[in-house]
């Protein structure tokens, strides 16, 4: 049994300890907003927050997690898309296929919670682990600046 603290709620799951958090979220708990993209922490589609840090849930075995660690997923930002980063994503019409966007948004939120006014190079550093095959990077950059209140 593993006890996890996710979006402020406690969940106890009975899965093998080597099971990646990604599959516990998606299959055991039915929280499918977090996506499977590569299984090797190469694409960022599975990005969630662990104690405020953006991490790749596809390589994070649940056996290494404890209930005093706070996990936050896309479902934990808002139910209605009202989080400022989600709003900026809507205003800039960022998503195309949309599959990578949960991970993109979680990486962007982690960045903005540490750095309220990121430069382009700060954005590059924070977002380099998130692939978008539709090529929405230009709009992602604009949306992060918009969410930060930056003038650009």
């Amino acid at each position: 049994m593993t006890t996890l603290r996710i979006n402020g709620q406690t969940h106890t799951v009975d899965v093998p300890e080597d099971t990646p958090l990604l599959w516990v979220l998606r299959e055991t708990l039915g929280m499918t907003g977090t996506k499977f993209g590569c299984g090797m922490a190469l694409c960022g589609a599975c990005t969630v927050h662990l104690d405020g840090e953006a991490v790749r849930s596809c390589i994070l075995a649940v056996g290494g997690l404890t209930e005093d660690m706070e996990i936050r997923t896309i479902e934990g930002l808002s139910d209605d898309g009202s989080h400022p980063v989600q709003q900026a994503w809507i205003e800039e019409q960022v998503p195309q296929c949309g599959y990578c966007q949960s991970g993109q948004i979680m990486s962007a939120v982690a960045l903005l919670e540490k750095n309220g006014n990121p430069s382009d190079s700060d954005i590059d550093a924070a977002m380099a682990g998130n692939i978008c095959r539709c090529g929405t990077y230009q709009r992602i950059r604009r949306a992060i600046h918009k969410a930060s209140g930056g003038a650009r």
Binding site: E27, F36, G37, G39, M40, G98, A128, R133, Q138
Partner: protein
């Protein structure tokens, strides 16, 4: 609207849609609905429904893979219905004849065809519904329909303050006959078409609620991971079934057409079970195939006479002047959709239910092997009317999901186990078992005299995607080459379609993805041989190709062609038509330790009358990234008959820090419509390579640039 689709477009094109079906998952396109007793009495055709609260639901038969159809289809309907955009929601159709493209008889999404194919059909669907609502209002008031007009979801009585909402009229309109003919709006009166209305699918794509195929959950469902022979065409010979079944959570090991499937409670158990199978493969006849052998075969073919697809003047006869000869080559490419291939099926005795991110729902004639509906009927042993197909959101498509190998796996696994089964591919499965953009080689010999080209001889060797007619070529292998736009007096273009033992498929912009690279680089080589500016050289050869010329001039002007750049930067230009649209691009490039850095790309597109300028801009941005990724990094190498690359560490994608500024200029046009999903891709590789040649003097003729 154009009706001159090529044979290839016939195969990959289709309108889809179906009666209003409630699918088991949220597609994520509906505004918050009212909670009162709302009914939806008015369903005048397969494409729209009007509720008593005045809300309108448009039914979309095309697959949404990022290109914006779940917004563009409703725009076409809502414009003619004359309803406010905020009242419009969209839902995905089932597989059904109502949504087939009448010209093609299949339901599928591809060939950048939606707007061209549906422009009139969907506008008429909205206009006929509007006419019925007007008739209902006129009857209520006891006046002629000429005394009525519509505005924002209401029928208004001229010369009075009387108004009736569409919701009020829905029940009465439903009892009226559908008009045979209807007058469409004058484009000058458009309120929704041609406007950058917000996408209907975006809100649920920022909350994680949008339902992709991989998110499907069905009660009692198991998850399968399949072991497939790494060598194309090989088969499983022996495997350790007991070892797989010993993994906790593994329920079944079943043999299916594509390999050995491990069916478990969830993905992780299935994945571990597959690893435990330790399959021994019978690798078959392709086991010795390699990139080196493929290159040698293509090189041998481009030196031999091929099938002629274009001849003008004296053909290949030598002409006086300066002659340039060059060979270009590109590798196989995987699609690498962000959502790995997956599908879910439940095969029961008298019904099959299928859920999946697919581009090909139905092909009742079976001319192309059947879509998902026909495949489900065949594997399930039922008739097609005992099949329900749910198309989910697609996490990228790019042509990959027209091929339904992954759907067959889910159907076979469900049939074998008697339970609903979702098949999920790993990223490695996805990259190593694709239907690849073909590897291709092109030989050119061109001659310039007095500053202008006098001869263009071109031979290409490229495997077919679909077999050509007897004695002919697959059109896709020579598209863009057989119809290159420049006025040159003596031309010969030939091709070969060798079989190379590697599966091939439609990859965003298909043959134009490589052929624009070949021809738009070689025309630059001829410009250099003629001592001419590459923009001016092209422009002067385009008198008979006004749409090419206009986008070329627009891109050059907006990019400041000929104006000074910072030290170490240069511009390159390219223009190509594909899928009926004309796109020119100017790339600004510098080199950093031998690796190009693309700073800015200026795009000009003429796609005829438009639906949504922001979606067009997004598709151009997207097409540039897709083509630039391939130009810089894209390569599937073949060794031992199998794909070498497996995940994003070896099959590299463009990332945010490499993203150029992309500026899109839509050229106003009333010419024939073209698509927008694919035409942004072809010009970027030659624009970048031409810029590198301008900067360094070195001409790159083999992609990818970074090896």
């Amino acid at each position: 609207m154009t009706s001159t689709f090529s044979r290839r477009e016939f195969l990959v094109t289709g309108i889809s849609a179906g009666a209003g079906l409630t699918i088991a998952m949220q597609l994520g396109c509906s505004p918050a609905g009212p909670s009162g007793p709302v009914t939806t009495p008015f369903v005048p055709n397969a494409f729209l429904k009007v509720s008593t609260d005045g809300s309108v639901t448009v039914v979309c038969g095309f697959s949404e893979m990022g290109q914006g159809v779940l917004t563009a289809v409703p725009q076409l309907v809502a414009e003619e219905l004359d309803v406010e955009w905020s009242k419009v929601s969209v839902e995905q159709s089932p597989a059904g004849e109502a949504y087939f493209n009448p010209a093609f008889g299949i339901q599928g999404t591809g060939g950048s065809s939606m707007v061209r194919g549906s422009w009139t059909q969907l506008r008429e669907a909205g206009a006929k519904a509007r006419a019925m609502l007007v008739t209902a209002a006129a009857a209520r008031w006891g006046v002629s329909i000429d005394e009525c007009r519509t505005e924002a979801g209401n029928v208004m009585r001229r010369g009075s303050r009387d108004r009736l909402s569409y919701g009020d009229l829905a029940e009465e309109a439903a009892s009226l006959p559908v008009p045979e003919t209807v007058t469409l709006k004058d484009p000058a009166d458009f309120l929704i078409l041609g406007k950058a209305v917000p996408r209907l699918d975006v809100p649920d794509k920022v909350t994680g609620k949008a339902g992709f195929g991989i998110d499907v959950q069905v009660p009692g469902m198991l998850v399968a991971v399949v072991a497939r022979c790494p060598v194309f065409g090989g088969k499983a010979a022996r495997w350790d079934e007991a070892a797989a079944l010993a993994v906790p959570g593994v329920r079944h090991v079943v043999t299916i057409t594509s390999g050995v499937a491990v069916v478990a409670d969830g993905y992780w158990a299935a994945r571990k079970g597959r690893d435990a199978l330790a399959v021994q493969w019978d690798e078959g006849s392709n086991a010795a195939q390699s990139s080196a052998r493929i290159s040698a075969e293509l090189a041998s073919l481009v030196r031999r006479k091929g099938i002629e697809v274009r001849r003008e003047g004296a053909g290949s006869a030598a002409q006086a002047g300066t002659t340039v000869e060059a060979v270009y080559e590109v590798p196989f490419l995987a699609h690498a959709c962000m959502e790995p291939m997956n599908a879910t099926a439940h095969v029961e005795a008298d019904h099959v239910t299928f859920w999946g991110p697919i581009q090909f729902q139905s092909d009742p004639g079976g001319a192309f092997g059947g879509g998902a509906r026909e495949m489900a009927a065949r594997i399930g042993g039922v008739s097609t009317d005992q099949v329900t197909v749910h198309t989910t959101m697609l996490g990228g498509g790019f042509g990959r999901r027209f091929f339904l190998d992954f759907a067959a796996e889910a159907l076979e696994c469900s049939k074998a186990t008697g339970t609903p089964v979702k098949v999920v591919w790993s990223r490695e499965d996805d990259v190593q078992h694709d239907f690849y953009r073909p590897a291709s080689m092109a030989w050119f010999r061109g001659t310039v005299a007095d500053g202008t080209p006098v001869s263009w001889v071109n031979r290409v060797a490229c495997p077919a995607i679909l077999p050509g007619p007897p004695g002919g070529l697959d059109d896709s292998s020579v598209e863009g080459l057989a119809n290159f736009p420049y006025r040159i007096p003596n031309v010969l273009v030939e091709g070969h379609n060798p079989a190379l033992g590697v599966p091939t498929g439609f990859w965003r912009s298909v043959g134009s993805s490589q052929n624009a690279f070949f021809s738009e680089c070689f025309i630059d080589e001829l410009a250099a041989a003629a001592g001419k500016d590459p923009f001016e050289f092209r422009r002067d050869l385009l008198d008979n190709a006004p749409r090419h010329k206009r986008v070329l001039e627009t891109a050059a002007e907006r990019a400041g062609w000929g104006t000074p750049l910072p030290e170490g930067r240069a511009r390159g230009i390219a223009v190509a038509e594909s899928f009926g649209s004309y796109v020119a691009q100017v790339a600004e490039v510098s080199m950093n330790d031998g690796v190009p850095r693309v700073h800015r790309v200026v795009v000009a597109i003429d796609c005829g009358p438009i639906v949504n300028p922001d979606i067009i801009a997004a598709q151009m941005e997207s097409g540039v990234v897709f083509g630039l990724t391939a130009a810089l990094y894209g390569k599937i190498a073949i060794e031992g008959g199998r794909a070498v690359q497996a995940n994003f560490d070896t099959y590299q994608m463009l990332r945010v820090q490499e993203m150029p500024v992309v500026e899109v200029h839509i050229v106003p046009s009333t010419d024939a419509q073209g698509g927008v999903g694919e035409p942004g891709t072809p010009p970027i590789a030659p624009a970048v390579v031409n810029a590198i040649a301008a900067l360094t003097g070195e001409r790159i003729r083999r992609l990818p640039i970074v090896s």
